[in-house]
């Protein structure tokens, strides 16, 4: 067992500071140390995307990152994307278009989708399918997830236009 490391990171805008073994996986840090249980564990091998978070502006599967690697990072999880009084457009769109069933993939899906729409605010269906291919859903068959994301994109674009 290695010595514990002094870790500092920002999670959903809050400073966090603690001692942890460097081998601790970031998903366990979030879920078990910080009680942020929105991101889930579906595989721990970087295949399913249930653990997706945003780190320094990039989508990252937090099961495949040691906490040591996240030292100093700025982390956003589903909990930091919207709150009950101020939901993200995507959170509403997933409900509106039945983009979820068991909900286990949903936090990772929505977190990934926020980045996808930042990277490409006006995606085609094909681009959504490609851009979301790192996130597995076992329930929905994706059709309504794709629909939700496309709907959110148009809504966000319309809002942007209205603001301009």
């Amino acid at each position: 067992m290695a010595d514990k490391m002094h870790i500092k990171m920002t999670v959903n805008g809050e400073e966090q500071e603690f001692l942890a073994e460097p081998r601790e996986l970031l998903i366990h840090t979030l879920r078990e140390r910080l009680d942020i249980t929105g991101p889930h564990i579906g595989c721990e091998t970087t295949h399913c995307g249930a653990c997706t978070v945003t780190i320094d502006g990039k989508s990252v599967k937090s099961c495949t990152m040691f906490v040591a690697q996240a030292n100093g990072a700025d982390v956003t999880t589903i909990e930091g994307i919207g709150d009950p009084d101020n939901l993200h457009v995507l959170q509403n769109a997933f409900k509106e278009h039945h983009g979820l069933q068991c909900g286990f993939c949903t936090p990772g899906m929505i977190t990934r989708a926020t980045k996808l729409l930042e990277e490409n605010p006006n995606p085609t269906e094909e681009e959504v399918r490609f851009g979301m291919a790192g996130n597995i859903c076992r329930c929905t068959g994706y059709q309504n997830i794709v629909k939700s994301i496309l709907a959110a994109a148009s809504e966000m674009n319309a809002a942007k236009e209205a603001a301009e």
Binding site: P39, G103, T140, G141
Partner: protein, 808 residues
């Protein structure tokens, strides 16, 4: 009293049956506020992990736990020796067999549970697993069921007496020590006679490969034994929490009232979470031993290696017909590989589930089904992966046999189906293998489907494609996959369906609150099907209170009425019926209250959407909201205060949803890559409760069907090593591989169900698998292919093309 809203507006305001109500579950899930088993955190909670066998068959010579116990933070290491005094080394399976909880002297499959390590956190537990020293002596491995039935090697010592003679199993005599059961339905001599005299007979053997439900959330449990109060609480991924409570009580000796089982949010089940697993049992024992709450959650590799595989059926079929295509008989024999323990989750009297629905949607006068269950050195199970008890196997079998017969007859497979469908006027239809189909209108559905896809146009295009291919103008072939399926769901009548002796009824309990809102609790448990949304819709229509004012609760055995859980599409047919009937009991009492309030006789009021009105005087009424209040604040002569009801529903029959699917696929002959151009799915699930949710279920079920048909497989090498233990090797389709589906429907209500609903969650999987597979087979038909086994991954398709000489 005046009323300025129209009747339609009142109906709309309820959000009842038939509307596309948005899901009430979604708010918490989209905000990351679900509560799944791994989210549970209790004071002082320990984390557990298994030592698993690297061998598929070996004797355990010794287990040394000293080094593990010496590790700081380790609280306990349990082995079979620790379970012996509790009589828990083995536990009963749902199939009448028994299964080792922890390896008792030997291991029978790779990944089998050998020791259970309990530690302060998951990292220490994982470290300690590495420190447990197990000495094994390898034994000969059998992974092939046909070899198992010939081999002298006794896999399970409990199958033989002291002379080495096979003793009877749970379902009668064994023909061999590695034989689990023989199950027969129908009339074999009569079937053989028909086959012998038939004008045309088609035969085929097909392997329905081993796969796995693989929900995104793996299995897990948290056990907490409160020694002060003597109460055990068990949270876990349970599709049948009440049955788990009964089993836990029988196994542990703790009285059932002292056990509370809770299924929190479940991250998909698909059959994976019906059974009782060693991890659940060990977490209970560990909590008793350590006095602390103990959490066990399997990782993905453990999930794929050890809990609940599905299928692994070798099916040998024979179908006979007249020259002009009238089917005269069907013969089916299955060799079923159950792995090391028969741990399938079927109703007790059905060791091969409802495989005897294999005559499908066709009027087949005589048939025979025989199933032989066999032990091998593979993981235990045989669960129903998104289907009702082996119905997926049955439908795949008959829909492939129809295609093979069509080839034999040189007849169009759509026409062959049409010719043999059970006719509308034949329902209720008594099938040759025992079932009584409740209702159906197959011809209408089939015609609608063929028309929607322009079937003739597709065949013309396909013929042209074959010409072009032969002329060297294209390297892509085109397949048209057809399927017409009949499911059998909603297990089931208590007279013939039980699980460990518990009749397969289900239940609903309703309490109306004074201000006109309500809570209803059911014996089922949602795993993504949206019960909190749809059951409230059923109730809204039945009791006239808005769905938004009705809370649905499931999964806590301390509060919910006893029920057999959610799998086999049984929630709507069974618990949905209980819900409607409990609602009607509420209404019956409400009628008395309304009559009292309106000062008329009970028979002079009638229910209308959200109120009782005086017959012939609709301006005189009491709304259900007013009636609810009156139930609590008025002394009504002869009527007890309060407004509650409970209903336990024992269905008189199963329900038989059906559907017509068409898949159009392009196949690149040189790479084996498939491209699904079109998928049309017509489903008839009887009365439709929420079309949005139905469509969602169909998209999801079809995608799981695509996975199974085109690549998803649990494969073993000859030493019994699992070759598909991670998501790198086990195919789960992503958004990139999945097409958009076109959904359609007809409505043929179930005549015996209170609201006519039949259930839908599994139809698309059951119908989808043969449809994708038929498309692949169909693409190569013009080049002489009769049948090729699933899964049709790129390599296998390439190989098929190569074997047919299509690579030049």
């Amino acid at each position: 009293m005046k009323d300025d809203v129209t009747r339609e507006e009142r109906v709309d305001a309820l959000g009842g049956m038939g509307c596309k109500r948005k899901r009430v579950e979604d708010a918490r899930f989209t905000q990351g506020k679900g509560n799944y088993v791994d989210d549970i955190k209790l004071d002082g909670m320990m984390f557990a992990d298994f030592v698993r066998s690297p061998y598929a068959h070996a004797r355990i010579k010794s287990i040394n736990i000293d080094a593990a116990m010496a590790l700081d933070g380790v609280a306990a290491v349990l082995t079979a020796e620790d379970l012996k005094p509790l009589n828990l080394t083995w536990m009963p399976t749902l199939a009448g067999d028994k299964q080792m909880v922890l390896a008792d002297g030997k291991v029978l499959f790779q990944g089998q549970e050998v020791a259970f390590v309990v530690a302060k956190d998951r990292y220490i537990a994982a470290d300690a697993v590495e420190l447990v020293e197990v000495e094994y002596e390898e034994l000969p491995v059998i992974t092939d069921p046909f070899e198992a039935l010939k081999s002298d090697v006794v896999l399970r010592e409990d199958t033989v007496d002291e002379n080495g003679t096979a003793v009877d199993g749970a379902h009668g005599p064994r023909g061999h020590h590695n034989h689990i059961f023989k199950w027969e339905m129908g009339d074999e001599p009569a079937t053989n006679e028909v086959m012998d005299d038939a004008e045309v007979v088609a035969e085929e053997t097909m392997y329905y490969h081993r796969t796995h439900p693989c929900p995104l959330e793996t299995c897990g449990s948290v056990a907490s034994m409160d020694k002060v109060n003597g109460k055990l609480t068990l949270w876990g991924t349970f599709q049948a929490p009440h049955v788990v409570r009964t089993v836990a009580s029988l196994l542990s000796g703790i009285e059932e009232h002292n056990i509370r089982v809770v299924s929190p949010d479940i991250g998909g089940g698909f059959g994976n979470k019906v059974g009782v697993y060693p991890g659940y049992v060990c977490s209970i024992v560990a909590s008793i031993v350590t006095g602390k709450p103990v959490k066990w959650v399997e990782d993905r590799m453990e999930n794929l290696m050890s809990t609940a595989f599905a299928r692994d059926y070798w099916m040998k079929g024979k179908i006979s017909a007249t020259k002009d295509g009238k089917i005269t008989g069907l013969h089916c024999h299955v060799t079923a590989d159950h792995g090391a323990f028969d741990a399938c989750a079927d109703p007790s009297k059905f060791p091969a589930g409802f495989m005897n629905i294999c005559t499908g949607s066709y009027d087949i006068p005589v048939a025979y089904l025989g199933v032989d269950g066999v032990y091998t050195n593979k993981a235990p199970g045989g669960v129903s992966y998104r289907c009702s008890f082996r119905v997926t196997e049955a439908v795949y079998f008959i829909e492939r046999m129809i295609e093979v017969l069509a080839i034999e007859l040189n007849m169009d497979p759509a026409e062959l189906r049409m010719k043999n469908f059970i006719k509308k006027e034949q329902f209720p239809y008594q099938a040759a293998l025992g079932w009584e189909y409740d209702s159906g209108d197959y011809h209408t559905a089939w015609e609608k489907a063929l028309k929607a896809v322009d079937y003739e146009g597709l065949r013309a295009e396909q013929a042209q494609r074959v010409e072009d291919f032969k002329a060297g103008k294209t390297r892509k072939l085109m397949g048209v996959g057809l399927t017409f399926f009949t499911e059998i769901v909603g297990a089931g009548p208590v007279k013939n369906c039980d699980i460990l002796g518990m009749g397969m009824f289900d239940s609903c309990e309703i309490r109306i609150h004074p201000t006109g809102s309500a809570i209803a609790r059911l014996g089922t448990i949602s795993q993504g099907q949206g019960h909190a949304t749809t059951f409230a819709q059923i109730l809204a229509t039945e009791i006239g209170l808005p769905a938004d004012s009705i809370t649905i609760e499931e999964g806590d055995t301390d509060t919910a009425p006893y029920g057999l859980g959610t799998y086999g599409s049984r929630s709507t047919p069974v618990a949905g019926a209980a819900t409607a009937l409990a609602g009607r009991k509420i209404r019956a009492k409400a009628q008395m209250i309304a009559a009292y309030l309106l000062e008329v006789h009970d028979d002079d009021v009638e229910f209308d959407v959200d109120r009782f009105v005086v017959k012939g005087a609709p301006e005189k009424f009491k709304t259900m909201k007013e009636i609810a209040y009156a139930a609590y604040n008025q002394a009504i002569p002869g009527v007890e205060p309060g407004l509650e009801a409970v209903s336990y529903y024992d269905p008189p029959n199963m329900t038989y949803p059906f559907g017509a699917y068409v898949c159009v696929m392009d196949i690149d002959v040189d790479t084996g890559v498939t491209d699904i151009r079109r998928f049309y799915a017509l489903d008839d699930c009887g009365t439709r409760i929420n079309p949005m949710i139905i469509d969602g279920q169909i998209h999801g079920g079809l995608t799981e069907a695509l996975a199974v048909a085109l690549g998803q497989e649990i494969a073993y090498d000859s030493l019994g090593n699992v070759k598909t233990g991670t998501l790198m090797d086990f195919f789960l389709p992503t958004a990139w591989e999945v097409p958009n589906y076109e959904t359609d429907f007809t409505v043929t209500p179930s005549p015996h169900h209170p609201i006519g609903a039949k259930g839908v969650g599994e139809s698309p999987h059951v119908g989808g698998v043969p449809c994708f597979s038929n498309a692949v087979n169909d693409a190569f038909k013009a080049f002489g292919l009769r049948h090729t086994h699933m899964p049709h991954d790129h390599w296998r398709i390439w190989k098929t093309a190569n074997d047919l000489g299509l690579h030049g």
